[in-house]
């Protein structure tokens, strides 16, 4: 039953232009996970973000100007990195645009989030776009990749 639903969602996602899915059609686990990620960013809580990382192996992360190039990191390592980033920058807003969340295959989702941040020691506010790749783990969805986008 769940498989059928996922396939239906997939067909819906592929049918849409560019493979995007509306917020209503997202799997509930994914929607919850995206909300948790938003909350973690908005509250600058690296520990909460750690709970959204994939449970095994390394994660590929490339945050322009914040990490040193595209590299894979352990989940705990990323928690510390995000802890430092959240210590350095105050999040003004973080939102996933519903039209930029895509579930192109049953166990994979792409989502772009707009991150508005200001340095605690800088007067300037920056808007960054982050693209997340998420993987379905059981009924839950976990982050596999985070990359800075244009």
């Amino acid at each position: 039953m769940r498989k059928t639903l996922v396939l239906a969602l997939l067909a819906l996602a592929l049918g849409a232009a560019g493979g995007t899915a509306s917020a209503q059609s997202l799997p509930p686990g994914l929607q919850t996970r995206l909300q948790r990620i938003e909350t973690a960013f908005q509250q600058g809580d690296a520990g909460a973000l750690h709970g959204s990382f994939a449970t095994s192996g390394k994660l590929r992360v490339d945050l322009e100007g914040l990490t040193e190039g595209q590299e894979t990191y352990g989940a705990r390592q990323l928690q510390v990195i995000f802890g430092q980033i959240f210590g350095e920058f105050r999040t003004r807003d973080f939102r996933f645009a519903p039209e930029e969340v895509s579930v192109p295959s049953p166990a994979t989702a792409f989502a772009r989030g707009r991150w508005t941040r200001a340095g605690r020691r800088e007067p300037v506010e920056r808007v960054e776009t982050l693209t997340f790749t998420l993987r379905e783990e059981g009924t839950d969805w976990r982050i596999l990749e985070i990359r800075s986008s244009r």
Binding site: A17, G18, G19, T20, G47, H50, S56, G57, K58, R60, D62, E64, G65, T67, E68, G69, Q70, E71, T72, Y73, G74, A75, R76, Q77, Q79, V80, I81, Q84, E100, S102, P104, S105, A107, T108, F110, R112, G119, R120, R121, E122, P123, V124, E125, V127, T131, T133, R135, L144, R147, S148, S149, R150
Partner: protein
């Protein structure tokens, strides 16, 4: 270590106190300074104004720099000759410009143009597109040329002839800003005016800036923002500058940070002084407390070194978290934090080990078994931590060069070795605490059997999914640590502290490396199965997603809304790159292309990354909406699948042009694949070198087994059997080994409906594993040795004699074998170093020469191909250009090397157009290459080119294009250079490893030879000492027939003679002693006999006389007789005791307790005016012997002292340990002894007392000697008498007890 490091106790404590106080003061000062700076910086408007002034001042400096550079170029005398057409003068002008450029501080590019605008000579990266155009100026003019990617500050000055007629212009240009939006190890964006500070917005103003720019972000809003125009000296606006005031929090922050580091250094020193102070409290407690304080000072204030921006403190390199309060995670938040924490843990573990070694458990079955069981969780935790460390580290930890140049990797390896050493110390402590099984060798066998059973059970039941233990390293660590715990005494004796430290470090490294390989392998397999394989399957969806986002982004850019004025400005070339770099195609490094067409469909700007040949320009798209399709682009016989999206650019109903987006629809975009294109690192967000994990390859086959894609050059075929196995495998996936590029590779095979996929990585060969293991062990041992030498040098500076270089030299000087060893090793080191240097230089030189020769040969082939192509092109009906990009791409693909062709020094065609289209390379060939080939007629030129931090060698040759301008062909050799550097790297590594192995072998040989030479001498020395100590049975076994053998024979002969003589002497002495004994016995026995005889006669006489007082007389005489009989018995008993052999009951005794027992009855019975002082410190090692005899010896010394002081005086009894012996001192303040008496007091039967037997002190001497000790008496007539009884400390426990005493 703490014993040898210990300074004088109180001084160290004082130092700790004052350093700590000073550290706290510095923290206070830093905070006060920071607060003051913040308070001063409250006026936002003033700070913004000051900031703006600084920026504009920087602008004026840059203007002046380019103006004076242009004027200096114009003043070069060679310029006039060159403008007059003198070819030799032109060559000199090139040289002069290059020299001039080298003298200028900003090193701007310089160019000389003729009056007609033809570029004659240049130096530095000259971007034609940025050279100011238009009428030559009448005086020096400064302007900005703003492009899509770069903005350039240029100064142009007229160059006049003697008659003041204009002959040409001199130009100096300096890149002000680069906005490529690509960040990697080689390139980063910059702005010279703002110096990349946030809150400074600069908009450069130039004649051709407007139509070709990607829109800037909206300006930040701030009430105190200040704005001004930066102007050229003639008033031309060059840029608008807008600044925001810097936040007050930032003021004084750097200074406060420096204060914190200084305070950290002071508090760390305070903690070290405290840890190694002499008093108070137990040494181990101070060490534990001191190291704990040190670690938490470093946690709270950060280490004084390295600085906060060092990779050693970056979580990008390594970081993890700990359970519990958040601040505790700071203990493992970076490589250096991990190293400090590991060092701290090691100190704690070693302290525990020291305490465990001090216990002497009785043999038992239970304790060892319990300890072995407790070792399993220790192993589990240890390897879990090692796994966590390798998982949360981005470095390639499996690579460590013998000469490490990468500090983070070395730090991580030291930390890991420290971790393993900590685990080893805990296991050794458990082993020492446990003791042995009873039963000697049988017990040992039982223990081995228990270990085997335990190992088998652990192997069977170990939770591998939870704790993936590397079995062999874990087993090795367990055995090494357990044996070290059991055999610590002999290890310490044979290796010494330095040897034990080095061996421990090497053993830890030997465990670390296989563990890392194990975890690395495990991690890679996990990553391949769970990450890379799904990524391959989802890559098409990801590509479509990125293309959709790219279209959205391009829509937002409103490209060509303002039509560029025709003819198109040169800076328009960069627009396509600017668009590409503003999209996710750049963010994710896709093989892709952006094309911009004008309204007539003509291509006006194009940028392509790894999509070089697109054939004929695409026609105008059908409408303003995006359309996309899957296409195949052909390059010769090779076809490349692409996704092609396009649309018209229509604004207000008017067609302005069109945009085309191409994305490579194959597997090269996968981020884990290593690109073979050496320049790809310039366009991708790549990690720094050394961070990358192991390289992976990809093989793709269709369902029939035909190869579809391969990242390898020599891919294997997918056999039918393997394909069948894969089809039938569980989950449709399996691991196997395939031969890829001639090497066995672990390959993960999986499938989808249309393809079979294989992700592969090279298998680690046993030889390579052994070499890497050796290198890791050697590297860590070298670092630890360097640390020990540094410690010794430091102690030399502090004037210490132990564990210092001076002390080491002394030890070497005193020991013949060490001198020999050092001499042999020194003799081996020198040629190895020289040979290594010579071989390295020779091979490097040969390899480079060969590489350059091949490059020039290749350039000759390429020249032939290009010239042939140019010839054919001229014959073609539409052949306007002699060479095209497509032709060079084709030739480059055959030669496996890129090509550039220049005409008159300007780029004509390139197989790597993206390097020029993106502005990374100037479109002019380097000035000195042009000079040497085109003007001086040299056949070839080799030159190092640079793109940011990326440098490579380029070979250039002249080429005939049948054009008016000379043609040049240039071949960048980045790929070959990378290959050569890889070969050289391997070679250097092999040379270093071979040298290290050779030196290790030489050291072993030297050790063996030194032992063979010095062994007989050492044995002779030992035997001589034994003979000197009275052991005349000492003999040395002759080891050779040489001079040393003769010496040994002579020695043995001498010892035999001495032995014989002593036996003779003893015989005569014994006879004399018996005579003396008989005389003494007779004398002693005779004395009581007289009163007995007298009493008996008196009694008989009184009885015969019938005296009335007979009963009283009887009573008196019998008493006398009994008294004398008692006296006789006492005399006989003492003689008997003296002659009796020592009792065989030998046990360790605590002398403190023994003396207390002896003193106890005396304390109550002492005369009132006799004072007894007793000093019995704790921690004195025990003495092995007969308790009764030892008590008797002490009693006799005490009795002597009591008799010496009489009814008034003082007696002191002191116990001490020194140099492996226990000393009992009994002192009295009696009358003392004159020298004659003192010399004879230990002779039997010598006594100065009327009632003494003269055997007391003789008995003490005999007891002491029977126990391996001695007794001395020092005294002078009328002064104190000091008796010293010394006994050897019990060997087995002497070392720890001595250490404990020393620590106090």
């Amino acid at each position: 270590v703490e014993r040898v490091l210990r300074p004088s106790g109180r001084a160290a404590l004082r130092a700790a106190f004052w350093l700590g106080a000073l550290g706290l003061l510095v923290i206070g000062l830093g905070e006060a300074q920071h607060a003051w700076a913040r308070r001063r910086a409250q006026d936002d408007a003033a700070r913004a104004a000051a900031r703006l002034e600084r920026v504009l001042g920087r602008g004026q400096e840059l203007s002046r720099a380019v103006s004076s550079a242009a004027e200096a170029a114009a003043a070069l005398p060679e310029a006039h000759g060159a403008l007059a057409g003198d070819r030799a003068a032109l060559a000199r002008l090139f040289r002069a410009l290059e020299e001039l450029r080298g003298l200028l501080p900003q090193r701007p590019a310089l160019a000389i143009e003729s009056a007609s605008g033809q570029l004659l000579a240049w130096a530095g990266p000259v971007y034609d597109r940025y050279l100011p155009r238009g009428e030559p100026p009448t005086q020096t003019r400064v302007q900005v040329v703003a492009g899509s990617v770069s903005s350039v500050l240029a100064a142009r000055t007229p160059l006049r002839q003697a008659d003041a007629r204009l002959a040409g212009t001199a130009t100096a240009e300096l890149t002000l800003q680069a906005r490529r939006r690509i960040h990697n190890a080689y390139l980063s964006d910059f702005d010279r005016l703002s110096e990349n500070q946030p809150g400074i917005e600069v908009r450069y103003l130039g004649p051709s800036s407007l139509p070709a720019r990607v829109p800037d972000p909206p300006p930040a809003v701030h009430p105190h923002a200040r704005m001004a125009s930066w102007q050229a000296p003639d008033g031309t606006p060059l840029a608008t500058v807008r600044v925001l005031p810097p936040p007050p929090e930032d003021e004084g922050r750097e200074l406060a940070s420096r204060y914190r580091r200084a305070a950290s250094a002071l508090l760390c020193l305070a903690a070290i002084c405290f840890a190694f102070a002499g008093a108070p409290g137990p040494a181990w407690l101070r060490l534990v407390l001191g190291s704990t304080i040190l670690r938490f000072v470093l946690l709270a204030l950060g280490p004084p070194w390295p600085g906060p921006h060092s990779p050693l403190r970056s979580p990008d390199t390594y970081a993890s978290t700990l359970p519990g309060p958040a601040f505790l995670s700071g203990l493992v938040a970076s490589p250096v934090d991990l190293l400090f924490t590991t060092a701290w843990a090691l100190v704690l573990a070693l302290t525990l080990l020291r305490h465990a070694l001090a216990t002497r458990p009785e043999p038992s079955y239970l304790r060892p078994l319990l300890a072995d069981l407790a070792g399993l969780p220790v192993l589990g935790v240890l390897f879990s931590v090692v796994f966590d460390t390798s998982l949360n580290c981005s470095l390639d930890l499996e690579t460590l060069s013998l000469l490490p140049r990468d500090a983070p990797i070395l730090t991580m390896h030291l930390a890991l070795a420290g971790m393993v050493a900590t685990g080893g110390a805990l296991l050794a402590a458990l082993s020492a605490w446990a003791g042995r099984f009873p039963g000697g060798s049988r017990g040992l066998l039982l223990r081995a059997a228990a270990w085997a059973a335990l190992g088998g059970a652990a192997y069977r039941f170990w939770p591998r999914e939870v704790i993936g233990l590397p079995l062999l390293p874990a087993l090795a660590l367990f055995l090494i640590a357990s044996l070290a715990g059991q055999l610590h005494s002999s290890l310490w004796r044979s290796l010494g502290p330095v040897g034990v430290t080095l061996t421990g470090a090497a053993a830890a490294a030997a465990v670390v490396y296989p563990s890392l390989v194990h975890f690395g392998e495990k991690s890679t397999r996990l990553q391949v199965e769970r990450d890379h394989a799904p990524q391959i399957l989802r890559q098409p969806r990801w590509r479509e997603y990125v293309l959709a986002e790219t279209r959205r982004r391009i829509d937002a850019l409103e490209l060509l809304e303002v039509e560029p004025p025709g003819p198109h400005p040169p800076v328009l070339e960069e627009l396509a790159f600017a668009v590409w770099s503003a999209t996710d195609l750049a963010a994710f490094g896709f093989s892709s292309a952006i094309e911009l067409h004008d309204a007539s469909g003509r291509l006006i700007s194009r940028f392509a990354l790894d999509l070089p040949a697109l054939g004929a320009p695409a026609p105008l798209p059908g409408g303003p909406a995006w359309t996309w399709s899957a296409e195949r682009l052909a390059l010769g016989s090779v076809e490349r699948p692409v996704l092609h999206a396009r649309k018209q650019l229509v604004y207000h109903g008017e067609l302005h042009g069109a945009v085309h987006v191409y994305v490579g629809d194959d597997f090269w975009d996968l981020p884990f694949l290593t690109d073979r294109d050496p320049y790809s690192v310039l366009f991708r967000s790549a990690a720094a070198p050394g961070v990358r994990s192991r390289p992976l390859g990809l093989l793709v086959y269709n369902r029939q087994g035909g190869l579809v894609f391969s990242s390898a050059e020599r891919p294997p075929a997918l056999g039918a059997e393997l394909a069948a196995r894969l089809r039938g495998a569980q989950g449709g996936r399996l691991w196997t080994t395939l031969v890829v590029d001639g090497r066995p590779a672990h390959t993960f095979l999986f499938q989808d409906a249309s393809h079979f996929y294989g992700i592969c990585y090279p298998r680690l060969e046993p030889g390579r594993f052994a070499a890497d293991l050796l290198e890791t062990v050697a590297a860590i041992a070298v670092v630890v040795l360097a640390g020990l030498l540094a410690l010794m040098a430091l102690r030399d500076l502090l004037g210490r004699s132990t564990l210092s270089l001076h002390g080491l030299a002394g030890v070497v000087g005193r020991r013949f074998s060490l001198r020999l060893f050092v001499a042999f090793v020194a003799v081996a080191v020198l040629p190895v170093i020289v040979l290594q240097f010579v071989v390295r230089e020779f091979v490097t030189d040969r390899l480079r020469r060969e590489s350059e020769r091949q490059a020039l040969e290749l350039a000759a082939i390429a020249r032939k191909a290009v010239e042939d192509f140019a010839l054919l092109q001229r014959r073609a009906p539409d052949g306007t250009r002699p060479v095209t990009d497509e032709a060079l791409v084709y030739i480059a693909s055959l030669l496996r090397n890129d090509l550039d062709v220049f005409e008159g020094g300007r780029l004509l065609a390139s197989s790597k157009r993206e390097l020029y289209a993106s502005g990374l390379l100037p479109s002019r060939v380097s000035g000195d290459v042009f000079r040497s080939l085109a003007l001086e007629g040299q056949p070839t030129a080799l030159r190092t080119e640079t793109i940011g931090g990326f440098s490579y060698l380029a070979a250039s040759v002249p080429v005939r294009l049948d054009a008016a301008e000379p043609g040049l062909l240039s071949m960048p050799l980045a790929l070959r250079q990378r290959e050569v550097e890889a070969v050289l790297g391997d070679l250097y590594r092999a040379i270093r490893l071979a040298s290290a192995l050779f030196l290790a072998a030489a050291a072993l040989l030297a050790q063996s030879m030194a032992r063979r030479i010095s062994g007989p001498i050492r044995e002779l020395t030992g035997a001589t000492r034994r003979i000197a100590a009275g052991d005349l049975a000492a003999r040395v076994k002759p080891a050779s027939r040489d001079e040393l053998g003769e010496l040994t024979d002579s020695f043995n002969q001498m010892a035999s003679d001495l032995d014989r003589q002593r036996r003779d002497l003893e015989q005569s002495n014994r006879l004399a002693a018996w005579a003396e004994m008989a005389r003494q016995v007779a004398h002693e026995v005779k004395n009581p006999l007289t009163p007995i005889q007298l009493s008996a006669e008196h009694l008989r006489r009184v009885f015969r006389d019938g005296g009335a007082d007979f009963p009283a007389t009887l009573e008196r005489c019998v008493a006398t007789i009994l008294g004398q009989v008692e006296s006789l018995r006492r005399i006989v008993t003492e003689f008997s005791a003296f002659a009796r052999p020592p009792a065989a009951v030998s046990e360790p005794h605590d002398m403190r307790e023994l003396i207390e027992d002896v003193l106890s009855p005396y304390r109550q019975a002492l005369p009132p005016d006799v004072k007894l002082e007793v000093e019995l410190p704790a921690g004195v090692p025990p003495v092995r012997g007969d308790r009764r005899l030892l008590e008797r010896a002490v009693v006799n010394l005490l009795e002597n002292a009591l008799q010496a002081v009489g009814e008034r005086g003082a007696i002191a009894v002191r116990l001490a340990a020194h140099d492996g012996r226990v000393e009992v001192r009994v002192e009295d303040d009696g009358l003392g002894l004159d020298p004659e008496i003192r010399e004879r007091v230990f002779e039997p039967f010598f006594s100065t007392k009327t009632g003494g037997s003269g055997l007391g002190l003789a008995l003490v001497k005999k007891i002491a000697e029977d126990h391996g000790g001695g007794v001395t008496l020092t005294s002078q007539d009328g002064e104190r008498t000091r008796a010293l009884l010394w006994l050897p400390a019990d060997d087995a426990r002497a070392a720890p007890a001595e250490a404990a005493r020393g620590a106090r």
